[in-house]
Amino acid sequence: MEGVVSRMNVNSRDKLFACITATSFVLDDLRIYLDTHPTDQEALDYWEKVNRVRKEAVEEYTKCYGPIYSYDVNVKNRWTWVDEPWPWEGRC
């Protein structure tokens, strides 16, 4: 049972992280598009919509699994910024 729960957690962690990657990328591409098309209303609406989803995903991920931004480290009795793997370490 414990195995099933931890597997579910891993899955939801991966899903949440994938959501952050995907929404952030949409915004990376939109940002440079909007730099040269600042009045494209469709793009502006899309930015707002995706940015909202991204913000929620980052908040949820930070709360459950640790900070993506050092500003969001929850400082009680330990600096957790360096606890989780660095992005270049890969999955293995």
Binding site: D28, I32, T36, I68, Y69, Y71, P87, W88
Partner: protein, 202 residues
């Protein structure tokens, strides 16, 4: 000011090491058409451009190139992680290894160290943006050349992502160039530096 996000722009998870391939891919870290040169080029050029939109494109693409440099570095790191002395000798990695062990150091595939002479920052937005468009194409060609040598899908996937970004950036720089040209003074027929216009030869 920059702040670090503890994540890759696109995931890099390579499980099968390949030091021979790493020696080719490192060119997109510190080589002539690599991500480090790209980032330094755009972030250096932005100060002298008077058009705010163009400065925005240079800032945001220059920032994204830093994330690409991190991805390329991660690919090289994972392809060479924990390789044995025998693998080093068998793959031709020994000439890099002797100076850098398994660390990342910006150089081209041919061993030429990174240098600022890989790029220009000219103070003329037309000159600079034409260079930037060429730079995106040169990087795209380099990724094409890399993709012909790669058979591992875990390496292919992030390289294809990076290749696609070169195409998007080329498009944005093309728009930035058009914006600058649209705003040229009608007497400036030959598009002489619109951001620095003291008379020539006086």
């Amino acid at each position: 000011m920059w702040s670090y996000e503890k994540r890759m722009q696109h995931p890099v998870n390579i499980t099968c090491r390949n030091p021979r391939l790493a020696q080719v891919i490192i060119s997109q870290f510190g080589g002539p058409d690599g991500e480090l040169a790209a980032s330094m080029r755009y972030l250096s050029q932005r100060y002298s451009t008077k058009n705010r939109k163009v400065a925005g494109v240079l800032t945001d693409i220059g920032t994204e190139e830093l994330a690409h440099m991190e991805m390329v570095s991660a690919i090289v790191h994972q392809l060479t992680k924990d390789i044995t002395p025998q693998e080093i000798m068998d793959s031709g990695f020994e000439k890099y290894y002797v100076d850098h062990t398994l660390a990342l150091w910006p150089q081209s595939a041919g061993g030429v160290p990174f240098t600022a002479t890989f790029f220009q920052s000219k103070g003329d937005p037309i000159t600079d943006l034409v260079e930037d468009m060429a730079a995106e194409q040169k990087a795209r060609t380099t990724y094409d050349n890399i993709l012909r040598l790669v058979h591992d899908q875990e390496v292919c996937d992030p390289i294809k992502f990076l290749r696609q970004r070169e195409i998007n950036h080329f498009q944005r720089f093309g728009e930035a160039l058009r914006i600058v040209q649209d705003e040229l003074d009608s007497k400036n027929f030959y598009a002489v530096n619109p951001d620095y216009l003291p008379d020539l030869c006086k």
